[in-house]
């Protein structure tokens, strides 16, 4: 989970990373009570990069100027997002700008310190310019000095830059971050350093052990709601594609293998959900069946989904509960289909009111009973198919997903 610049700078200030005097602006009129002297920079507080290029960062010289500019920035969407807050900050004349970062590298299973004597480097070509130090053992400040020296720094600047890296590392560990960056770090000829912009990514699994971050996460959770709840839930827990076949499985590898099978069989995978884990930012306790229930509800509500392919192979906690969820889902949608069909004449949206097909692949002795039971239901249902063989289940799902009869209606009409 990302934090906004002003939140990051509060952390910086507390831990002793030098930051400029700044003020949070909730409304343009707040600028009348500005305690920083002009010239001032106004910065849109949005997630993601490219803010400056999009016009979200402006220098202002007077209060009138500032209020007008703030109005504009508040109304300027950046990557589709409007800022709730601006940050007003003193202007800083840096002689040089550096990049500093700490990131967890899963390939070496260690944090890596990153540093470059240029800011805003193109990552793809940063190979030569960007320096890195792997923090092999428990961190100690000498790792930060090693980075600063690799960056080609000496004397006082080497010491002040490594002191900043040391504090970044402390934040990294104390707050369970995946990433912390200062980009740029302003440098004066005098050797003074200043964190001009900062960003962090909090590891989502660790959020719940940091009450203050959990508080921010709770507010941010709106950014992940509706169809997005099922997207990007941590490590491969869900994938949103645009196809018509929704996939539910237990375990990331199993879900991905199913996705590959569907694609290889000529089908178009839609949302894929791994039910093994709850979202790490989920605040309430979930069970496998509650996650299954939620996922089925969301997929059924998604009009682009024609087929839901469930792939379960044994070792699911509370098998009975899970089967009951599937059964309830079928019952509920069987009841819905009839009256809806009668009303669907002349309805332009093909899928409206029609339940998606449910292809259920169940394998393993755990499911022997359930398979028999659901197979019985199959005969009473128009939309349920129960199978044991995975390849067959995939083939069935692909054949059931018919091509859509209209395209981009909303854009062309």
């Amino acid at each position: 989970m990302e934090l906004l610049e002003y939140q990051v700078k509060e952390w910086f200030g507390k831990i002793g990373i030098p930051v400029l005097p700044s003020q949070r602006i909730n409304h343009p009129t707040d600028l009348k009570r500005l305690k920083i002297s002009y010239p001032v920079v106004l910065k849109s507080q949005v997630y993601g990069g490219g803010r400056a290029q999009a016009g979200g960062v402006k220098f202002v010289e007077t209060t009138i100027d500032a209020i007008a500019t703030a109005h504009n920035i508040f109304n300027l969407p950046i990557s589709g997002e409007l800022p709730e807050v601006l940050l007003a900050e003193a202007k800083y004349e840096a002689d040089q700008e550096f990049y500093l970062g700490v990131v967890l590298d899963s390939a070496v299973c260690r944090p890596v310190l990153l540093g470059c004597t240029e800011a805003d480097v193109e990552w793809e070509s940063a190979g030569d310019k960007m320096q890195h130090v792997v923090v092999e053992q428990e961190f100690s400040p000498f790792y930060a000095r090693r980075l600063a020296l690799k960056m080609g720094l000496h004397g006082v600047l080497m010491q002040s830059v490594s002191a900043v890296v040391e504090k970044m590392y402390r934040l990294f560990v104390e707050q369970d971050l995946d990433l912390i960056e200062i980009n740029p770090l302003g440098i004066k000829v005098s050797g003074e350093v200043m964190a001009l912009n900062g960003s962090v990514n909090v590891n989502e699994r660790a959020i719940r052990r940091h009450p203050d971050i959990a508080e921010i996460a709770k507010k941010n959770i709106n950014r992940y709601t509706s169809s997005e709840t099922i997207r990007n839930l941590g490590d491969w827990d869900g994938i949103e594609l645009n196809g018509k076949i929704g996939i539910l499985g237990n375990g990331a590898g199993s879900v991905m293998a199913t996705l590959d099978l569907v694609a290889n069989a000529g089908g178009k995978p839609g949302v894929c959900i791994n039910l093994r884990h709850a979202s790490p930012i989920e605040t309430s306790i979930t069970t496998f069946s509650s996650r299954l229930e939620e996922a089925l509800k969301n997929l059924a509500a998604d009009k682009s989904i024609q087929v839901i392919l469930i792939n379960f192979l044994s070792s699911i906690a509370q098998t009975e509960d899970a089967i009951e969820v599937i059964e309830n889902f079928i019952q509920q949608h069987k009841n819905e289909i009839k009256p809806q069909f009668s009303r669907s004449n002349g309805n332009k949206n093909r899928r409206d009111g029609q339940s998606p097909y449910l292809v259920v692949r169940l394998a393993g002795s755990e499911f022997n009973e359930a398979r028999k039971h659901l197979t019985k239901l199959q005969t009473q249902s128009d939309t349920l198919i129960v199978l044991e063989n995975l390849d067959e289940a995939v083939a069935k799902a692909v054949s059931l997903a018919k091509p859509t009869t209209y395209k981009k209606l909303s854009l062309n009409s």
Partner: protein, 294 residues
């Protein structure tokens, strides 16, 4: 790695991922499961018909040296449970719990390296040696003894492949999942080495998925050091890349890795380059195994 049926095993914690069925299955399989450790519940009752203790050291006082612990505590307590096991002299740790904060794992791995402790997982269903020992939650029904060693990072996908092999009358010598988290203990390389030395294993099936560089490392190691034939399957070749910040591509460039680093494509390419046959789907694996076994 001590994987003989007489090696003594404990379970630390009983989370959602380990059920009474799993415990019963392990015992039925002959695993020498001597006790459970669950702080606050010591001595109170027999959980899953195991004696329960508050501390690992109490188990050791009673039963002597323990070879392996299976950790299923809350993800935030995994580091503590593992450090407790290490402090009590346990040198094989299997972590079932998913959701362990990665910086906890970094801390644990530093300690594990210093004490030469093998850590499998987290987010791993553990190890099964068909017909001999079950350490974890792999469903034994899909396994049968035989010549194929399975190395994986997945849970259910691992069983899927075991099932395909068993149905094709190809038994397994061992099946290990090193865990699907970004930061895990033991690597494919360590297990390739063990399987290469293992007398029962004739073919190795490597099961990968996107993220990290473990399959690429494995490919390099296979060409350098492994004499036995290897067959691979990589899930997620059709999955869109999930951008973990600067793990895939960008950080890779900085530290001198391929910009394709972490993708299923990169893994398939690395395996192709060392002439490891890569199956297109799980059901194709038995066929490839038979081919290389000839």
């Amino acid at each position: 790695m001590k994987l003989t049926p007489d090696s003594k095993v404990i379970i630390q914690g009983f989370c959602e991922y380990i059920s009474a069925t799993h415990v019963a299955q392990m015992k039925a399989y002959g695993t020498n499961l001597v006790a459970g450790v669950d702080p606050g519940f010591g001595g109170q009752e027999l959980l899953y018909s195991l004696p329960v203790f508050d501390l690992v050291e109490q188990v050791i006082e009673r039963f002597g040296v323990i070879d392996t612990t299976i950790i299923c505590v809350h993800p935030y307590q995994v580091l503590d449970a593992a450090l407790e096991a290490i402090a009590s002299g346990i040198r094989q740790i299997i972590i079932i719990s998913p959701g362990v904060p990665p910086l906890d794992m970094v801390q644990l791995l530093r300690k594990a390296e210093a004490t030469e402790t093998l850590v499998v997982g987290p987010n791993s269903p553990g190890i099964i040696v068909p017909g001999k020992i079950l350490l974890g939650i792999q469903p034994n029904e899909f396994y049968t003894p035989g010549p194929v060693g399975i190395l994986s990072r997945s849970t259910t996908l691992t069983y899927e492949i075991a099932r395909e092999l068993t149905q094709a009358a190809l038994g397994q010598s061992i099946s290990v999942s090193i865990g699907s988290d970004a930061v895990v203990g033991s690597s494919f390389i360590q297990w390739l080495q063990i399987l290469d030395e293992d007398e029962t294993t004739q073919v190795i099936v490597l099961v990968g998925q996107p993220g990290g560089g473990r399959e690429e490392e494995a490919a390099r190691y296979i060409i350098e050091a492994i004499d036995k034939p290897v067959v691979a399957y990589i899930a997620g070749t059709k999955a869109p890349p999930v951008q973990h910040w600067r793990q895939t591509g960008t950080l890779a460039a900085v530290v001198g890795r391929d910009p394709d680093f972490g993708t299923a494509q990169s893994k398939v390419a690395a395996l192709n380059a060392v002439r490891v046959p890569v199956a297109e789907r799980p059901s194709q694996i038995p066929e490839l195994v038979r081919k290389v076994m000839r």
